[in-house]
Amino acid sequence: MAKRSFLIPGVDKRLLIKDSLKTMPDLSRRRFIAGGASLGALTLLTGCDVVDSSSAEEMLKTVSKFNDAVQDFIFNPDALAPTFPESAITKPFPFNAYYDLDDAPDIDGDDWKLEVRGLVDNKKSWTLPELYKLPEVTQVTRHICVEGWSAIGSWTGTPLRDFLKLIGADTRAKYVWFQCADKDGYNSPLDMRSALHPQTQMTFKYAGEILPRAYGFPMKIRVPTKLGFKNPKYVISMEVTNDYKGGYWEDQGYNSFSGS
């Protein structure tokens, strides 16, 4: 068969190709839409297997970041967590961690010092007797676990925002990042607005007694506006920072804001 030319004389080949490409569908977008549609179908058919798909994971991570932003947007720093009478306290208040009580940090209060780092004027470390001298507040609030259960406890300590003021922290920074003495090095970032919430507390006592080992001796950060896993125990340092440094549970997929 004779070779026929479809080109009209005088037409630039490259320009023609360029023009024809414009009328073609965007391949990457089409692939994305097809992927989305099959993902939905796959989900219905196989249930959990779809979680192995990395595109599903990426989608879920993106939505989770969006959910962080939404929660930050609707966060009202003046909304107080409900407080309860002493009679409502859950007895015994549960010990909860990703390890047994036997494996909980056993900290010697005489040796312990709270390290302060990052965007603060005074980076001096604090001993327990020094911290115990700070003004105290007691509040009976509900601890809500990410698993769904909840328990009411009585927490005594210093509002974190007063301490941040005391050390000259830059409260325009994004996070206060806590490092703890737990095995595997639990850590967690707390967004600054939640850190400055009037009920967020550096806790030293439970039910009027020195914080027991089970609940985070010598210092726990009690954040009634967050889920339980955002309440660090056995704290050894705090850092005021603009960097998102991740966290023990956050890095494994739990929503970082996790506000209540």
Binding site: G40, T43, L44, G47, C48, V50, V51, M59, L60, K61, V63, S64, N67, Q71, I74, F75, N76, A79, L80, A81, P82, R142, I144, C145, V146, E147, G148, W149, S150, P224, T225, W249, Q252, G253, Y254, N255, G259, S260
Partner: protein
């Protein structure tokens, strides 16, 4: 719609009556996907701290583990809420809820339940819902609103404290959320069963006619 012109061919063709308008069909199936994602991921979350003495079988949960279940739940939540809200607004604005679901009289319900159980319930005109359908559909809309409100109060018990108060307290909202899920599952079973018994209703929900 007054600007539409009708040709002779269109009149002579006499297309079958639209039983389910396009918006109902789109929202129905979107809701079906959202609900199933919410239920399966919800079971995963339930299993982390069961309210009762049982867990849901792992094979029927979504997300692999608690964090995965939460990610799915809080992603599908948007689909469910946006679609549900659009459905409620359109349902009220178009008068569909009033026309299709009302009135619901006790005597009508008793009559039709009896007829349904003896397989004597007629389905000649799919555009008119019988009393069993009216009760189930109106009921499931109420349950849908309740499950979203109880879910929101569990998600944001401090920020949305007034919602928590509506249910009493946080633990009660959890139970309400669970029982609404159970009601939706029961509805799903009956709904699918009835749709299979009257296949033309399923066809109407897919192609509209």
């Amino acid at each position: 719609m007054s600007s539409l012109t009708v040709t002779d061919e269109q009149i002579s063709a006499k297309p079958a009556k639209v039983i389910q308008p396009a918006w109902v069909r789109v929202m129905h199936w979107t809701n079906a996907v959202a609900m199933i994602l919410m239920i399966l991921s919800g079971w995963q979350i339930y299993n982390a701290s069961p309210l009762f003495g049982f867990s849901f079988p792992r094979d029927y949960t979504l997300g692999g583990w608690l964090a995965g279940g939460l990610l799915w739940h809080f992603a599908a939540m948007w689909l469910l809420m946006i679609n549900g809200l659009a459905y409620l607004i359109t349902g009220f604005a178009t008068g569909r809820f009033r026309k299709k679901l009302l009135p619901i009289t006790p005597s009508g319900v008793i009559h039709d339940v009896r007829a349904a159980l003896t397989f004597k319930l007629g389905h000649d005109d799919l555009s008119v819902y019988n009393y069993v359908q009216r009760l189930l559909y109106a009921g499931i809309i109420v349950v849908g609103v309740l499950i979203v409100l109880s879910g929101l109060s569990m998600w944001k018990p401090v920020q949305l404290y007034y919602l928590v108060k509506l249910f009493g307290d946080y633990p009660t909202a959890r139970y309400v959320h669970f029982f609404c899920m159970a009601a939706i599952c029961a509805f799903l079973v009956i709904h699918v069963l009835l749709a299979l018994l009257v296949p033309k209703s399923l066809r109407a929900m897919i192609i509209g006619r």
